[in-house]
Every structure is written in structure tokens, then in C-alpha cells.
Symmetry: C2
Subunit: 297 residues, 2 copies
């Protein structure tokens, strides 16, 4: 299990929108040297669904070839179709990744828990690896399909050594709390906002988009929590949460990429694949000003 902060790493694109492997490898190393205990490549923040299966395969190979330890990686491998989801997952397992993060199939809406259970059953049978470790990925406001607590529990009961955890990006604290009450189950909140409360209930950290930019302070809050130094944790979490809240006024992925572009002096970090649109220079300046104001206290 990865304890600490996990970054759903942003995906850099060249100006022709091809995947920029070198910049990806660089960011991965920077994050792991700046407080991140792990990386979750190809999550929502990584624009995973805008990237083809073949590109994802190559990018994961490239990341590991560049020297990143696969045991700190939980790549997203969930698509709508089983054959490609299975192939991506087999690759990740065979490379020695800690686990795979698996969205429910998200094209058909209002599907039954039985249908989703059957999807994951078929998925597990086809991946067909003893070392498969699945982190479910619950982000209903984007995917349009969520994972009920009953479904999560049924999967974990049937596959206790395979369905080991979940990333809960719902932003619904009641749901996160219910998940944290399940025995022997790893729950990563998808944001640093409920981090302290979640760690008090047994979460090993969080997987947060803002880790791409603000990893050190978030990691420090986690360290304080691990030491049960709650006063320091709460004090630092205050500014960490303020930073997070600033992003809520902006399209989060373009905003994070625009800031990273400024921080690294690499203009191409601004590139996003459509249907996302790059943040304007004006908006980027507003965002930077808002963040500076927080830093100035």
C-alpha cells in the first residue's frame, strides 16, 4: 500500500498535441522528490480518456524505462470496453505496478449494480493475474456512473485480495466516511480537503490533483497526521485548503497546466487536448495573483 500523497500526474502534450514523454518523466521525478509517495498516471487530471490506449501503453513503459519505480505507480486503466481495459491492466500488473485504478464503464448511464459487478468480475477473470490489485475509481460527477457502497462492499467481499481499495473523488464526505468504515479496505479521498478527518478514520493519504503543484505542504500535513500531531496538521491544512479552493473558480486541468507552465518556463505545458481549452494568459495571471495573496497571508 502507498502511504502518503499520490499525484494524479498531469499529461504534457507537444504543440501538435502528441504526448511529451520527456516532460512527463521529468514531472514524475520532480513530484516524487517533492513529497509525493506515489503517482496515479492516467486519472481524470491526466486527461486519460483523451489519450489512446496505445499512447497510454507507451507512456507507462516510458515512465518506468526512465527509472521510476513501478511500485509507486497506480495507473488508471478503466475504459468503457473490456478488451482494452484488460490489456492496459495486464501491462501495468506485469510491469510491477502497485495496482490499477479502474473506472466503471461510463458510456451507458443508469446501469444496475449487478451489471457493474458483472463488468468487474469479467475484468478480473480476463486480466487473470494473481498479483492484480484494483483500486476502484469513484468520480460520478465526471464519469456519469458511480459505485455504490453496496457494490464496493460486494466486490471487496468476493475478491478481498484483488479489490483492495478505492479513490473517492465524489467530494461527498458521507460517502468517504462510509467507505472508510469497511474493514481491510484502502480509501484515498480524491482531494486534500477532507484529509485530516479521513486520516483519523484510517485513510493512508490522499490522491489529489493539486499535488501536481502543491505537493510539499500537502505531504507535510499527511506527515503531521501520521504523527498524530493534529494541531500542526490543522494549522498547515488551513492554507493548503485555501490554495485548493482557489482552483475551484477555474477549469482545474487547464489552470494547473497553465501554472506549471509558468513554474517551469515551459510554454507547452499549457497545451490540453480538446474538448478542454487552455487557460487564457489573463485568467492565469488572476489565478497566480490569488495564490500569491494566500502565500502572503
Amino acid at each position: 500500500m502507498i502511504r502518503g500523497l499520490i499525484a494524479p500526474i498531469l499529461s504534457p502534450f507537444n504543440d501538435d498535441l502528441s504526448f511529451d514523454q520527456n516532460t512527463y518523466n521529468e514531472l514524475a521525478k520532480t513530484l516524487l522528490n517533492s513529497g509525493c509517495a506515489g503517482l496515479a498516471p492516467f486519472g481524470t487530471t491526466g486527461e486519460a480518456l483523451s489519450i489512446s490506449a496505445e499512447e497510454r501503453k507507451q507512456a507507462l513503459d516510458g515512465l518506468i524505462d526512465s527509472g521510476i519505480d513501478p511500485s509507486v505507480l497506480i495507473p488508471g486503466t478503466g475504459l468503457c470496453n473490456l478488451p482494452e481495459s484488460v490489456a492496459l491492466s495486464q501491462q501495468a500488473v506485469d510491469l510491477g505496478c502497485e495496482g490499477v485504478m479502474v473506472l466503471p464503464p461510463f458510456y451507458f448511464k443508469s446501469v444496475s449494480d449487478d451489471g457493474l459487478f458483472s463488468y468487474y468480475e469479467e475484468f478480473i477473470a480476463r486480466v487473470n493475474r494473481d498479483t492484480l490489485r484494483i483500486y476502484l475509481y469513484h468520480i460520478p460527477q465526471v464519469a456519469g456512473v458511480g459505485l455504490s457502497i453496496e457494490l464496493v462492499n460486494a466486490l471487496k467481499e468476493k475478491y478481498p485480495s484483488i479489490v483492495v481499495g478505492i479513490k473517492d473523488s465524489s467530494g461527498d464526505w458521507e460517502n468517504t466516511k462510509n467507505l472508510l468504515s469497511l474493514d481491510n479496505f484502502i480509501v484515498y479521498p480524491g482531494s486534500e480537503l477532507p484529509l485530516i478527518d479521513a486520516m483519523k478514520l484510517g485513510a493512508p493519504g490522499c490522491i489529489s490533483a493539486t499535488a501536481n503543484l502543491n505537493s510539499k505542504p500537502i505531504a507535510e500535513v499527511i506527515d503531521y497526521c501520521e504523527d498524530k500531531n493534529w494541531d500542526k496538521a490543522i494549522a498547515l491544512h488551513n492554507s493548503v485548503a485555501q490554495t485548493r479552493m482557489v482552483f475551484q473558480d477555474y477549469a482545474p486541468i487547464p489552470a494547473q497546466k497553465a501554472l506549471l507552465s509558468q513554474m517551469t518556463n515551459r510554454e507547452s505545458w499549457r497545451n490540453v487536448r480538446p474538448p478542454l481549452i487552455a487557460l487564457t494568459k489573463e485568467k492565469t495571471q488572476q489565478l497566480q495573483d490569488a495564490l500569491n495573496a494566500i502565500e502572503a497571508g
Copy 2:
């Protein structure tokens, strides 16, 4: 342009859920011999998003190799990512298909019209074929992302010879009517329910899931409309609409497959890929009884 009834052909799966090409080719021929003027492989009804890009590629090749005229085909090629959507579209264009049906990228929700416009622009540039003809695919209740009338019009104005039409599966007659008011634009309602009104306003037919089972009467309604024989059209449409309405009480894809299984004595037609679930035998009998009652008048 295809005038008449177009079937969004169901996708048959073997018991191991692999794609059953022979049965697919058979159904295609049956439909084209039973009133269908065209086929739209890999729509929602065809469980397109549950099928990998490679399987779709092979299935389209297989269909055409079996003798189906590519000019009656409008395959769906829209995924969330550009590289695979573009590759599927190039294949369809190069095989001589009438056009391609292209969903908007449907993972990210609440994206802007500008972002979707930019997606289609990039798509058209990358497909890079003079003979590309796009039918937009508007099914917001499933995809979670729709195409506003302003966006449709902007695309059609910029690419008049490429963005030639739309399938409107919204079930929102106001929207269909607005689309039909655009000049030089082909609008297929995604159901036979508004067929007569749509044809009065210039629609060349419809693309309807029920065409997989009930093609002859629907095609006959279209013929009456073409002849402006409105009385006969309305009389026949009455029972056609009743049949359609029966399906609304059932999960439509499993229900259609269950009926087709009975009609063809091929048990495997019942197979669906998860997250869909096959219709139970009891439900199938209920459905059959309801349809028999309509036929008995």
C-alpha cells in the same frame, strides 16, 4: 444521402462475449432485405462503446467483405480520444462508407461549445480526407454531453461539405425541429415516433433501434410519407408507435436481443457485454405477449 430507414444494427456476441461476425453479416443482410435503406453500425444500440477499436475495425472490414455495399453504411466512430476516433474514421472513409457518425468526446462533462468545436476541427484536420462526411450524433441522455444547435450550426457553416447531418436521439422534438430548420443539413430523428412530422419538415427517414426487429412497417411508413400519402402513413404509424412504446418498459438493447434470439432461434443473440445484463426469460415472455397483443389489435 441515404433516404429511408437506417438500422443501428445490434452487435452479436458469442458465449465468450467475442464478436460474432457471421451472425452480424447475416443480420445486416436480413435488414437490408427487409426495408432498411442503410445501416449504422456501432451506435449506442450496437453497444459500440463496449467494443474495442480493433474489434470495430475488424467487424467493419468483415461486413464489407461479406458483400455489404459500403455506400449504405454510416458507422459510428466517435470515442473520447482523437487518435482512435480518427483511425476508425479514416478506415470507414477509405472503405467508401456513406459517412461516419461521430459522438462528441463524452468523458469530461460541462465542456464548452468552443471546446467541442475545437475537438471536431482537430478531428477533421486529422482524418484529412476530402470525402469525409460527418453525421453528428446527439444523444445527451446517454453520452452526458450534447451538441447545442449553435454548435451544430457553427460546424456546418465552417465545413458545409463535411458536416452534412446529424442523428438526433435526444427525443426532444423542439430540438429536432430546430435542426430541421437549418439549410442543407440532413437530420435523422433517432426514433420512429416523430417520423411523420420530421419527414414533413424534410427529414429523409430515421435511424431507429427498433429497425432491428420491426423494419418493414417502419419502412412502409416512410414510403407513404415519401408519396405524401399522409392518411395511410398516420394509420400505419399508429401501430408502429405502439410497438416502439412497448420497448420503453424494458432495457432496450437486452430486450431487442432477446426478441431477436427468439425470432432467429439463436440463443447467443441474448448475449450482451457488461454493464448491460441479458433480459430474463420471464421478461422476454412478457415483452413478447405485449407485442402479440398489439399485433392482434
